[in-house]
C-alpha cells in the first residue's frame, strides 16, 4: 500500500527488493498484557533495529507468543505501544499492519494451491492478476519452489510447506516478519537447512524480524540478538555470545546451554576478582561480574566445556568421581560426582579414535580462559 512496486526481473528480484525499502525498526514500549489477575506480558520494552532478527526465547508460558500476537494485532495489549518506524500501529487491525507471519503449523490454506496461497495477500490488496502472477513466480523462485505452483499444501513435505509459508508472507512485502516457532515441526536434519534459508531471506529482503522459540539452538544460530523471557518479562537481551557467556540471571544461565552449579562462599574480594571456596573442595579466583561481599554464599556456574580433567590434586582442582563417559559428536561428556555430592558434567574434546574412559577418580579444573558466572546463592 502506497509503496512503489519495484520493477522486477525474476533473476534480479532479490537485489531489487532488498533496496526497494529501508528496513524499519520495531519498538515495543512498555507493552503489558494481563489476563484477569496475572500478567502474560509484563512491561516489555524492546527495540528491534531495522533489518535485525531478534529471537524471543523462553519456556512455554513465558509470554513470548502473546507478545508476538500483540505485534501482529491478534491481541490488543492492556498497556504500552507497538511502533513500526516512528508510527504507532496499535490502532490498526491486523490486516492493515503489513506484517508477514510464518506460523508453527504454516497455516497454509488447504483449499488453495501453492500459487493461490502466495497470491492471497496480493489479491486482498486488490493487485491485478498480472501483478499477482508475476509476484507468485518471483516468490516461488526466491524460495526455490518453481514447479510446485499447482500443488495443494497437503501434497508438500514439511520443509516445502515452510518455504511456501515464507513465500506467502514475503509476497506482500511486509515491513516486519514474525516467525512463530518456525522450525518446531521440522525434522532435525531439515532444521539447519531452513534456518539458513530463513536467515538468507531475512537478509536478502532486509527485514526486521522477530522469532519466537523455546529452542536455544535455533535462537543462537539465526538471531542477531536474543531476548530471554520468563514470566512475561525480558530477563536478558543480548547477542547470542553475551547470553551464553555472561548470563545476567540464574534463570538465563540455566535456560541457555547446560551448566554445572557449584555451591561456594566468597572468601576474599581482590583486584583480580573474587576468591571463591567451593564446597566440593577447590578454591577458584574468578573475575566474574556482579557485586558480592566477602563471606557471601554464591553459586558458581561452569559450562561443561569450561572444565578439564587432570590426574593430580591441586588447590584449584576439585576431586570428582567419574561415572559415565559418553561420546557425543566431537566431544566426550563425562558424568561425574563432586566431593560435595553435586553432579557435574565435563566436556572434553574427543581425540580421534579415543574411547570413553572408564569410571574412576580424577580432578576437575577450570579450562584456560574459562569465565564462570557467579550468582548469589539465595536466588536459586
Amino acid at each position: 500500500m502506497g509503496r512503489t512496486k519495484a520493477e522486477i526481473h525474476p533473476s534480479m528480484a532479490s537485489q531489487h527488493t532488498a533496496t526497494a525499502q529501508a528496513a524499519q525498526p520495531l519498538t515495543l514500549d512498555g507493552v503489558t498484557h494481563s489476563y484477569g489477575t496475572g500478567f502474560a506480558v509484563d512491561n516489555v520494552t524492546l527495540e528491534v533495529k531495522g533489518g535485525e532478527l531478534v529471537a524471543l526465547l523462553g519456556p512455554s508460558g513465558c509470554g513470548k507468543t502473546t507478545l508476538l500476537r500483540i505485534v501482529a494485532g491478534f491481541i490488543s495489549q492492556t498497556n504500552g505501544k507497538v511502533i513500526i518506524g516512528d508510527r504507532p500501529i496499535d490502532v490498526l487491525p491486523p490486516n492493515r499492519r503489513e506484517i508477514g507471519i510464518v506460523f508453527q503449523n504454516y497455516a497454509l490454506f488447504p483449499h488453495m494451491t501453492v500459487a493461490e496461497n502466495i497470491a492471497y495477500g496480493l489479491a486482498a490488496r486488490g493487485e491485478s492478476r498480472a501483478v499477482q502472477a508475476e509476484r507468485v513466480a518471483e516468490m516461488l523462485a526466491t524460495v526455490r519452489m518453481e514447479g510446485f505452483a499447482d500443488r495443494k499444501p497437503r501434497q508438500l513435505s514439511g520443509g516445502q510447506q515452510q518455504r511456501v509459508a515464507l513465500a506467502r508472507a514475503l509476497a506482500i512485502r511486509p515491513r516486519i516478519l514474525l516467525l512463530d516457532e518456525p522450525f518446531a515441526a521440522l525434522d532435525k536434519n531439515l532444521r539447519l537447512d531452513m534456518q539458513i534459508e530463513i536467515k538468507r531471506l531475512q537478509r536478502q529482503f532486509a527485514l526486521t524480524a522477530i522469532m519466537v522459540t523455546h529452542d536455544q539452538d535455533e535462537a543462537m544460530s539465526i538471531a542477531d540478538r536474543i531476548a530471554v523471557m520468563s514470566h512475561g518479562k525480558i530477563e536478558q537481551l543480548g547477542s547470542p555470545v553475551e547470553i551464553y557467556d555472561e548470563p545476567a540471571t540464574l534463570f538465563v544461565n540455566n535456560f541457555i546451554g547446560s551448566s554445572n552449579l557449584l555451591k561456594g562462599r566468597v572468601e576474599a574480594v581482590g583486584s583480580d576478582g573474587y576468591r571463591v571456596a567451593l564446597e566440593s573442595g577447590a578454591v577458584w579466583t574468578l573475575a566474574a561480574k556482579g557485586r558480592f561481599e566477602a563471606g557471601a554464599p554464591v553459586l558458581v556456574s561452569v559450562r561443561p566445556e569450561q572444565m578439564v580433567l587432570a590426574d593430580e590434586a591441586a588447590p584449584d582442582r576439585l576431586p570428582v568421581a567419574l561415572k559415565l563417559s559418553l561420546p557425543i559428536g566431537g566431544a566426550l561428556i563425562h558424568d561425574a560426582t563432586a566431593a560435595g555430592g553435586e553432579d557435574i558434567k565435563i566436556a572434553v574434546p574427543r581425540r580421534p579414535g579415543a574411547l570413553s574412559t572408564g569410571p574412576g577418580a580424577a580432578f576437575a579444573a577450570l579450562a584456560p580462559h574459562a569465565r564462570p558466572s557467579l550468582f548469589p546463592a539465595a536466588s536459586s
Binding site: 491486523p94 490454506f109 483449499h111 492471497y120 495477500g121 506467502r168
Partner: protein, 288 residues
Amino acid sequence: MSAAAAATGASPVRDAVEWRLAAPLGLTYVVFFAAPFLILLGISFYADAEQTRLGFDSWLKFYTDAFYLKVIFDTLKLGVFAVVATTILAYPLALVFRASSPRMQRVLIFIILMPLLTSVVIRTFAWIVILAREGVINQTLMGLGLTATPLNLLQTELGLVLALTQIEMPLMLLPLLAIMNQLDQNLIDASRALGASKWRTFFRVILPLTLPGWIAGATLVFASATTAFISQSVIGGARLVYLPALIWQQSMVVYNWPFAAVASLTLLFTVLSGIMALSWLGRFARTT
C-alpha cells in the same frame, strides 16, 4: 487403501462375520423399506382409484395438471427458504460459538438443543400462539402502533418459513458448529495478517472450509422442511398445500391410492433432487 489391502489379506471367515453384523438392519431395511417401496411403485401404475386397470394415467394426470406442478414447486421452494433462513441465522451464531469459551459453548449447545427436547407438535402449536391474529407478534405490533390491523401470518408461507426455521435450526447448527470448532485459528489469523478484511476472510477462508458442515446441515434442513407434514398442515392450514398433505389427502380422504403413490414418489424425488444438488455443490467445497 491400507484398509482394502488388509481386507484382501483377511480370511473369508472374518468377511462373513462382517456381513452378518449388518444383517439385522439390512433385513429390516428390505422388509420395511425396500419391499413397501416396490409395492408403492407398483400401485402408482394403476390407472384408476379402484386399482382395476394398469396404465400411466395417474402419472400423466399428476404431471400435466398445473395445480400439482405448483405443489411440487411450492414444496421445493419451502425447502429452499428454510435452508436459506437457517443458513443466514446459523453462520453468525456459529462464529460466535467458535469465539466463545468452552463453558459458554456448553451453555450455547444446551440452548440450541433445548427445542429438540419438546415434540414438534408442541413447538408447532406454540407457533400458532405466536403467529395468530390475536397472537404475540400481532399484539406487540399493534401495541407499538406499527400496524392498525393484525397481520395475516398463519396460513402464509412467511409464517410457515418462520416456524420451520426455528424448528429445524438445530439440524443446521449441529454439523456447522462441529466443523466451525475444528477450524484452525491460525488460518484465520494468517488471512488477516496477509491483509484480508474480516468479510474477505469469511468468504475466502471460513466459508469454503466449513462448507462440508453446511452441506450436512442444509441436507437435513431441506429434507426435514419439505416433509414436515405436521408443521405444514397446522401452520399452513388448508390454504397452503404441500406434497405431504397432498399424499395424506389422496390416500386417507379421497382413497385414490395410485395417485397418492405418484405423489409419494414425487416427494421422494423432490427431496432427493435437493440432496443431490447439495452434494453436487459439495464437490466445489475444495477443503483439501
